[in-house]
């Protein structure tokens, strides 16, 4: 463990936070702030999912379920049981963590496409529960009246205050992930990605490490979930279905596997893209699909890889001139 790395990480995350906090002052219109908030929420989940997919090499096609169950948990706790918001949020994240802990043991034994199927099936089962447990979740038409976030007497009523909060949360999550990957655990995770047998032979407890990273990423999804519920004040099962799980995976891959910054970029890119494509009217869906396909074809290592290659090329041409 080299403390110098953590200094670099902290500096990077600090710069990132400063950049995020500057964004609202550069936006021409407050409307773009809502996109940024949703982008931050997706980025928190994507960074967590990347720990699981990019570093540990395990896929999950059911992460929307953890996002959703935390959102519903805090929604129910703060309205039906009138619990304080921080308690509801803690319960939400705890629920995601606990469910992930239970599900991890039998699921993570599976490999490749079987693991994909198991997590997919889990996600579908959970989203059916959101739909069918009408008495608790409000069913398909959604859950109304979740209180807007207020913590320690401060009301996050304006979009700007909520965005600033999200920026801080995202920067912390990024910092945590960067540090984790530089740690012993991070190296163990990467080792088991390359070869489980080789890692095991070096004394890495495969099952425990996989479970740890699965639970961590589910917890981050849960964190995003509770923040989403108290931002929108309304949640519906359609937001937590298979499509969103797939979208999260696309964010991670599009951003660049095993790159924390890539996941952040992928999340913002995919959140903002449909809004940017509104100008295309009816054919926006085709443009969206084409951009997705072309990006992966021409940037096989994702936005992160593409950007760093671009930077290198610029540096080289700068040096030549």
């Amino acid at each position: 463990m080299k403390p110098a790395f953590f200094g670099i990480n902290a500096a990077q995350a600090g710069l990132f936070l400063a950049a995020l906090l500057a964004v609202p002052h550069l936006l021409p219109n407050e409307y773009y702030l809502s996109i940024c908030i949703l982008g931050c929420l997706s980025a928190v989940i994507a960074v967590g999912l990347n720990l699981l997919m990019g570093y540990a090499g395990q896929i999950s096609l059911g992460h929307a379920a953890f996002y959703g169950m935390a959102a519903y948990a805090t929604a129910i706790a703060t309205t039906r049981f009138s619990l304080p918001i921080p308690v509801g949020m803690a319960l939400g994240v705890l629920l995601s963590v606990a469910v992930a802990w239970i599900v991890a043991a039998p699921t993570l034994k599976l490999r490749g496409h079987y693991l994909a199927m198991a997590t997919l099936g889990f996600g579908i089962i959970v989203s059916i529960v959101f739909n069918e447990a009408v008495d608790y979740t409000g069913g398909p038409s959604g859950f109304v009246g979740i209180p807007r976030l207020s913590l320690a007497g401060y009301d996050f009523a304006s979009d700007l205050s909520y965005y600033n909060l999200m920026a801080v949360v995202l920067a912390l999550v990024v910092l945590m992930s960067l540090n984790l990957m530089r740690s012993r655990t991070g190296r163990a995770l990467r080792a088991l990605h390359v070869s489980e047998k080789a890692a095991a032979s070096l004394g890495v407890d495969i099952a425990a490490h996989k479970r740890f990273v699965f639970v961590l990423s589910a917890g981050l999804a849960g964190l995003a979930g509770v923040l989403y519920a108290h931002y929108l004040s309304f949640i519906a099962p359609a937001s937590f279905g298979f499509s969103f799980s797939v979208q999260l995976v696309v964010m991670v891959v599009l951003g660049g596997m095993a790159s924390v910054w890539g996941s952040v970029a992928g999340a913002f890119f995919l959140t903002a893209l449909p809004e940017a494509l509104r100008e295309f009217e009816d054919i926006d869906i085709l443009v969206y699909g084409a951009i997705l396909v072309l990006t992966i074809m021409f940037l096989p290592d994702g936005l992160a890889g593409g950007l760093s290659r671009l930077a290198r090329r610029l540096r080289r041409s700068g040096g030549a001139s």
Partner: protein, 291 residues
Amino acid sequence: MLSGAPQYLVSGLTQGAAYGLIGLGFTMIFNTTGIINFAQGEFVMLGGMLAVWFAGSGLPLVAAVLCACAATAVVGALMERLTIRPLAGAPAINAVIITIGVSILLRGGAMLAFGKDTVVLPAFSGVTPIMALGAAIQPQSLWVLAVTLALLAALKLFFTATLQGKAMLACACQKKAASLVGISVARMALLSFGISGLIGATAGAILAPITMTAYDVGMMLGLKGFAACILGGLGNPFGAAAGGLVLGVLESFGAGYVASGYKDAFAFIVLLLLLFVKPSGLFGKAGVERV
């Protein structure tokens, strides 16, 4: 008087045969390329929508269905040629994301070309149900089952009696060895996408008279097909067909005897439990991993 069980069984088998065909498509592509094709469900959608479109433009029903299947096979082959082959060497997950992108394109294209309405294809031979063993059977159900069996038999023949089929099997077993003995793995991938498109479209076209179809039916059917081929054991075409039948019957009995709202959950819970006990599906071989 209708009794429950036989009716649930008939409905389940009809649905299951379609899931099996879709699963079969997944398996074909997986075997030669190692990727899961998320656009498989869109092939099914195209089969149904194109059949309706061809029938609407004046072709007789049979010709319309055949044209739809052929056109979708071409779409499958084009997809491989244009989006999958250029990726050679990239990680499999990239190819999977590409298939997601292609599925968005196909869905969007179908929406713009055919509109957003649900459409229906006439049944191949009437709608007067046949009563047997206390169950009402639609003639179209028999068509679905018969076509599924015929396709399975044809595939069996293809794999055992033709050079192309044997080459494809060889690819599935060991890609490198196959290419060493002179098999073009790239051509096999192209062929498998084509056949996959054909099988998917067939499922879509024979199912359309019963279930109707629309530009957005692909995703759900694709999921069920994926579940079918995992249930049967990935890589085994006949396992996928069997997995589909099991899945269909589970759903139908789930709706009948458990709660209809939870019928999909019921099927998936059984699937998960099975995977926990048997991590490579019903008929899958446990993989041996080299260190």
